[in-house]
Every structure is written in structure tokens, then in C-alpha cells.
């Protein structure tokens, strides 16, 4: 019986976390391969619906990461993002969408090791939580019978 391999989607900002992830690679640090990284100019650009859509398309976990506060390449993008995340997380939690499956972090361009750590701990945590079947079932209306 093959062990469950979580599918993780990572929404990261170009200037900090993406560069940091690059550093992880050039530093030859090995880390879990379950993550698909999507590059954004800034965390401020991350639409909250993208996270929900990821779950709808089969993601078991999500990582959202960007520049540390005060270090945003666009000055205040991550401040706006932080507020948005606070509100969105509260809403998801109230709706019963598993917020443990979303890991938010600040990873700078110099924090190659931290990125590896974020990914590894997230993958481990999701592996323990299992596949996100609860959400997949709701999103799986396509497989239901013709009468919706």
C-alpha cells in the first residue's frame, strides 16, 4: 500500500521567497518534492480565491509565503496581504475549511534553509492530516449523477 503523498501548492512572492527557494537549490539542500511553486510579483497580488480554488482542484495543502514585514519590494504589499490573510483565515475557519492545511510564512531571499524547513514541516503535517477528501467531495460534483 503506497503511502499518501500530499499535493501542496505554494504561492510565493518573486523577490523574497522565490529567491529564497532558489537559494535552497543552489545550496544543494534536499527537501520534499511535493510542492508546486507558483510565482507572484508580491504576496499582495495573491487573490484569496486562489487558495480556495487550489483545494477545489485537488490540493491537500497550501503554502503562502513572502517578504518579511518592512522588507516588501513594493513597500506595503505584504502588509495588505497579512490583513487579508487574517480575515480570510477567520472566514475559512468559520466555514469549517481546514486552516491547518494552509501554512503562511515570511521567507526572505537569504533564508534558503528556512524554505526547506517550511516545506518539510508542511508536507509532514499534511501527510498526517491525510488527503483533503472533505473538500474534494464538495468539489467533485462533476462525478455526481446528472441531476445536480
Amino acid at each position: 500500500m503506497s503511502e499518501f503523498e500530499p499535493k501542496i501548492v505554494a504561492f510565493v512572492c518573486n523577490w523574497c521567497t522565490y529567491a529564497g527557494a532558489d537559494l535552497t537549490g543552489t545550496s544543494r539542500i534536499k527537501y520534499a518534492q511535493n510542492v508546486k511553486i507558483i510565482r507572484f510579483p508580491c504576496t499582495g497580488r495573491i487573490d484569496f480565491m486562489l487558495l480556495l480554488k487550489s483545494f477545489g482542484e485537488g490540493a491537500d495543502g497550501i503554502i503562502v509565503s513572502g517578504c518579511h514585514p518592512n522588507d516588501c519590494h513594493y513597500t506595503s504589499g505584504n502588509f495588505h496581504a497579512r490583513r487579508r490573510w487574517i480575515m480570510f483565515r477567520g472566514l475559512l475557519d468559520m466555514l469549517g475549511i481546514d486552516v491547518r492545511r494552509i501554512q503562511y510564512s515570511w521567507v526572505s531571499a537569504a533564508e534558503g534553509a528556512k524554505w526547506a524547513d517550511i516545506v518539510n514541516t508542511t508536507v509532514t503535517a499534511i501527510r498526517e492530516l491525510g488527503p483533503y477528501t472533505g473538500y474534494a467531495k464538495v468539489a467533485g460534483y462533476l462525478e455526481k449523477e446528472a441531476n445536480v
Binding site: 480565491m49 480556495l52 477567520g90 472566514l91 468559520m94 469549517g96 515570511w106 472533505g134 464538495v138
Partner: protein, 266 residues
Amino acid sequence: MKKLIIKAASLLETNAVQVVIGFGKGSVDRTRAIFITKAADCEQLIFDSRCIQNLAVYLTKAEIKKMGKPAIVAPLPVLRSILQLAAEKQITEDSIIVLGVSPESELVELESLAAIETYLSTKQIVIEEKYQTTIETIKAMPVSERFAYWVKELEPCFKCYACRAACPLCYCTRCTVENNQPQWISVASHSLGNLEWHVMRAMHLAGRCTDCEACYNACPMAIPIHLLTKGMLQDVSANFGTYGPSLHRDNTLSSFNPDDKESFIR
């Protein structure tokens, strides 16, 4: 009420306004929004506990704006919406005249937006005990049970968008759901489509909603979607301080504090 009718009629007579938006007799035992253009018709204005529709929704409608400058009968929920609309630059100082109605159904003369803000500062938005209890009960459920609860509650939703249409703060001429490049939110009323719509609605109202319950009152299927907006209201209050419309403060999600606190970002 008499004072309100007299005031409204005089505003029309002197052409200070061209239309009075207020409540009048509706079907059977309901009330409805009425649009009075002749001073004599102001006699039709009524106000009682049945008048729950939020009239501020008409202030951003093209067809109503075309009628000219309006005077609007404004009980508390309407006043809050007016202030929020003003904060969002949808109405300006001289674009409307407000016929305030106090919780005791007395006419309140509010000559300016600043006057409205002062008046409302003594009437903070408070989430009723019964809703606080319901929200707490929901939050106390284990995650999967909570999810099942909402999927079931949202099941009757058939995407009529009455909630959106009735909300004074949903004034976008083209809503996100009405764009199909991309079709971001599913049009269909299956479980996922309903969930995504209500998530989006709650988020777009986060920090802006004034708890008027127009959404719930409008819903033909009586779905308690106002629980979501009330929950968001509580979150804004808890995370970013006291909550309410103001001309001196940017919307919660349009602004930030470098010292915003959270517990979940590594």
C-alpha cells in the same frame, strides 16, 4: 412621523430635492420602498417595525440617480450604510439629504455627513446575543462538522443574488461573478459554486459590512448568510479595533498597520 412627512413635503415643494425615498404601504401586510416626486404624496410615508429594507441600496442605482437629488428616510441601518458609502466616495456631501429616524422613530435632522458620523458614534454596531451564541456554537463544532453544517445550510441557495442586490455596499456595475474571462466564481448552484460565492461575498464585504441584515432579509430561501458577515465583523473588531463606518478611516482591507498582529505566520 408627522414631522418627517412635513419635512419631506417641504423639501419637494422648495425643489431642494426631486425625489423622496422612503417606506410606504406594500402588498398585503408588507412595506416597500417608495419614490415620491410630489409633495402631496408624502402622506404615503410610513415607518414601523416592518420597515427593514435598507433603502441606501437605491442611492447608487442609475435609474434613481436620474430622478435628481434624493432625500432618504434613514433609520439606523440606512444611516450606517450612507456613511460607509460616503467613506467610499459613492455619495458626496451635497448629493443627498438625510431624513434620519431614531430608534424611537423620531425625526433626526442630520445636516451633513459629519453630523451623521457624530450621531452614529453613540450607536456602535453590536452583534446581538443570539447571533453571538450561534456563531460560538458553530465555531465550537469540530472542523468537518462545521463544514458539513455550512454545506447543508448553503444547499438551498440557487444563486439568485438577492443578497447582493439588496446590499447597499454591493454597487459594482459589473460584479466579479458577471465576468467570464475568467469565470472566477461558478455560476451554477452546486455545492462548490454556492460555497465560493458566499466566501467571496463575505470577503468583499469584510471591514465594510454594517450589519444591516439586508442580505438575510432578501434571501428567498432564508439562508443565514448574515452569520458569515457577522462573523467577519467580529474578526475585524477583534483584530483591528472597534468597527464601524467612518469618514476618517480607510476600509479595513484597503489599509494596514505595520504592527498588525497575527499568530499563524511562521
